[in-house]
């Protein structure tokens, strides 16, 4: 312990005596720390985002939709294909008890929405209360649709208030303008409190029972299933069928969350059976296996995380080689000192300890400096540069400092061994 303390004192004196050289070598390690912290925070960020996405979207997801290729494959078959009706949904539910979510969805386009003097274009989605179980990236004012609304085909609706779009380039803005036929509706909902009000959609009066406010883009996990819909108005699917918003020729899509990845394959088989029984062997409906896509997406993001972390490690390696270089140079510059110390009784291990402690101190200094710079880089600088800040957990700098110290230690072993191996008489003769 005393030896370690003495070595640390000497080490500090040496580092101080060679400020420039020391600064250069610990800068190398510091850069390593910065890259490491940056890459680690990026990984943690990705991971936490994925976790959030998993929570919001669920993993064991599948979706039943019409098979368009079957519908139009043969000229003789062109005609109204069979549709997935609400009755089919009910039958499916009966066949698959215990599912976390079975959410049918049908839509209508180009609806006329009237409120007071306002008359705007919009679209409307027919859903059930299950819709809110997944990908719910909203805050709700009022209430959401319930089973009472669905069973009684009530004319109630929930309006979606859009979040301001993320910063985007002029082209994207133009395109958004070009296709946003319901921009007037978005503005109307954004600037008026319609909760509890009566509105008219295609001539039918609906009561607004709730308003869903989209979370701002910065706080919203991306949709993990990759399935995006531009929801404007939600109403009971039964109501929309009853009032012919969703025509008898229109098929419902069904989003399913089995609730567990283990039962996923079994549920998928059961759904396939159900489709065969209900619609025959023609494969008129498809089951989109979203679980696999989600898994692939997660694997990809972890792969890129590994690439990032290996960059961080490479940076440390470069820093370590810098430390080795400096330590070796120090050994040669201080050969005479080594001789003197050996002459007055320092053992080989004393000499080794001295150089290793010195290098580890450089590593620690570099790690601390790098952590500070890493924090600056990760939060304010990246934000200022518009790269999006990466969250830095308290343990990241700690780990970075430890790795920096360990790298310095590992790379100082060889120079220290060289120093310890010098013969005292030879070392004393050095100039």
């Amino acid at each position: 312990m005393t030896a370690l303390l003495n070595a640390a004192r000497t080490g500090f004196a040496e580092i101080w005596a060679h400020k420039t050289r020391s600064a250069l070598s610990f800068l190398a390690i510091a850069v390593g720390s910065v890259v490491f912290i940056d890459s680690f925070s990026a990984i943690v960020h990705t991971y936490s985002l994925l976790e959030k996405q998993k929570q919001v979207s669920g993993m064991a997801r599948m979706r039943i939709s019409q098979n368009n290729s079957q519908r139009f494959a043969s000229p003789d078959d062109v005609g109204p294909p069979p549709v997935f009706t609400y009755e089919d949904v009910t039958a499916l539910k009966a066949r698959l008890p215990g599912m976390y979510m079975i959410s049918p969805e049908g839509r209508d386009w180009m609806n006329v929405f009237e409120y007071g003097e306002h008359r705007v274009m919009t679209g409307i989605h027919g859903v059930t209360p299950d819709w809110a179980k997944r990908d719910f990236v909203y805050t709700l004012k009022g209430r959401f649709l319930d089973w009472h609304d669905v069973e009684n085909k009530l004319r109630v609706c929930v309006l979606v208030r859009k979040a301001p779009p993320p910063p985007s380039n002029a082209y994207n803005k133009t395109m958004m303008k070009k296709y946003n036929y319901s921009g007037g509706y978005d503005t109307l909902v954004a600037h008026n409190d319609l909760l509890g009000k009566k509105v008219t959609i295609d001539g039918y009066t609906f009561t607004v029972i709730g308003v869903l406010e989209e979370l701002p883009y910065s706080k919203r996990p991306a949709n993990i299933t990759g399935y995006q819909q531009d929801y404007k108005i939600l109403a009971p699917v039964t109501t929309l069928i009853h009032y012919n918003f969703i025509g008898s020729y229109q098929s419902l899509d069904v989003n399913i969350d089995t609730g567990s990845e283990e039962t996923f394959a079994e549920v998928e088989r059961k759904v396939a059976n159900f489709l065969k029984i209900q619609f025959g062997d023609a494969e008129l409906f498809l089951i989109e296996n979203q679980l696999e896509a989600i898994r692939e997406r997660i694997a990809t993001s972890f792969k890129s995380a590994l690439v990032t972390i290996s960059l961080g490690m490479l940076a440390f390696l470069a820093g370590g080689i810098g430390i080795m270089n400096v330590t070796l140079a120090t050994v040669f510059a201080r050969t005479k000192e080594i001789g003197i110390r050996r002459a007055i009784g320092a053992s080989r291990s004393d000499i080794m300890l001295q150089f290793i402690v010195e290098a580890v101190m450089l590593g620690l200094l570099g790690g601390v400096l790098g952590s500070a710079l890493g924090y600056l880089w990760g939060v304010p600088v990246k934000v200022m540069l518009g790269m999006g800040g990466s969250p830095i957990e308290p343990w990241m700098p700690l780990v970075a400092v430890l790795i920096a110290a360990f790298t310095a230690f590992a790379f100082a072993i060889y120079p220290a061994w060289v120093a310890a191996g010098l013969k005292p008489a030879d070392a004393l003769r050095a100039e």
Binding site: A13, G345, A346, D350, K423
Partner: protein, 221 residues
């Protein structure tokens, strides 16, 4: 501390057969003796001193320090003997310039595992003994040659050695400082410490109780 060498040889590497620095020395030095080793440059004096001080290893022959065969010692044992039993005084002082005089004197004690306050206390006492009271905090570069050599003597004494090896201790000093340093060495010898000193100076050698004259790696009869 007794020194006994028998047919001691040292060959430096280089060339085909190497370069022989010592060609078979046989001599002994009794405990408490003051031995001067003299001879022209390149005759092997310093090599001999390095071997006696365990800084170098002989190529052949036998060397027993205080009755113990040195050639069988491990590096750690040799370091320990250097630290605890031998004090070195070099011509060019060999002090660590970045440290104060006090820290230089402390160093061997710290290697011996002494705790810092005790080491500093003893170092201050030793510096006082060699007449450097008040200059403890000065670095070697702020001291005169004579003062530096006195720091070196204080350092050599720090672990109470039984043998002091001095390699031309006055070689870089003026006559006044030389005399002071020699007086110190004789005083230490009077306390019972064996002193082996390499010197060019015949007058100094004459003051020593024993004179080992060397020429071409051999002892002159």
């Amino acid at each position: 501390m007794s020194i006994a060498c028998e047919d001691l040889t040292k060959v430096y590497e280089g060339g085909k057969a190497g370069w022989p620095a010592l060609r078979g020395l046989t001599f002994s030095i009794a405990p408490g003796e003051f031995a001067a080793v003299t001879g022209p440059s390149g005759c092997g004096k310093s090599t001999l001193l390095n071997i006696i001080g365990l800084l170098d290893e002989p190529s052949g022959g036998r060397y027993a320090l205080h009755g113990r065969d040195v050639t069988t010692m491990s590096d750690l044992e040799r370091s320990t003997v250097r630290r605890d039993a031998i004090g070195f005084v070099f011509q060019s002082f060999h002090l660590l310039n970045r440290m104060s005089a006090l820290e230089n004197v402390c160093l061997p004690m710290l290697y011996a595992g002494a705790d810092r306050p005790a080491a500093r206390e003893r170092a201050a006492a030793l510096l006082k003994k060699v007449g450097l009271h008040g200059k403890e905090k000065k670095t070697p570069l702020e001291l005169s040659g004579g003062e530096r050599q006195r720091v070196a003597i204080a350092r050599a004494l720090s672990n109470s050695p039984k043998l002091i090896l001095a390699d031309e201790p006055t070689g870089n000093l003026d006559s006044v400082s030389s005399r002071e340093i020699m007086d110190s060495l004789f005083a230490l010898n009077a306390e019972g410490i064996t002193v082996v000193m390499v010197t060019h100076d015949k007058e100094l050698a004459a003051r020593a109780g024993r004179n080992i004259r060397m020429r071409d790696g051999r002892i002159e009869p």
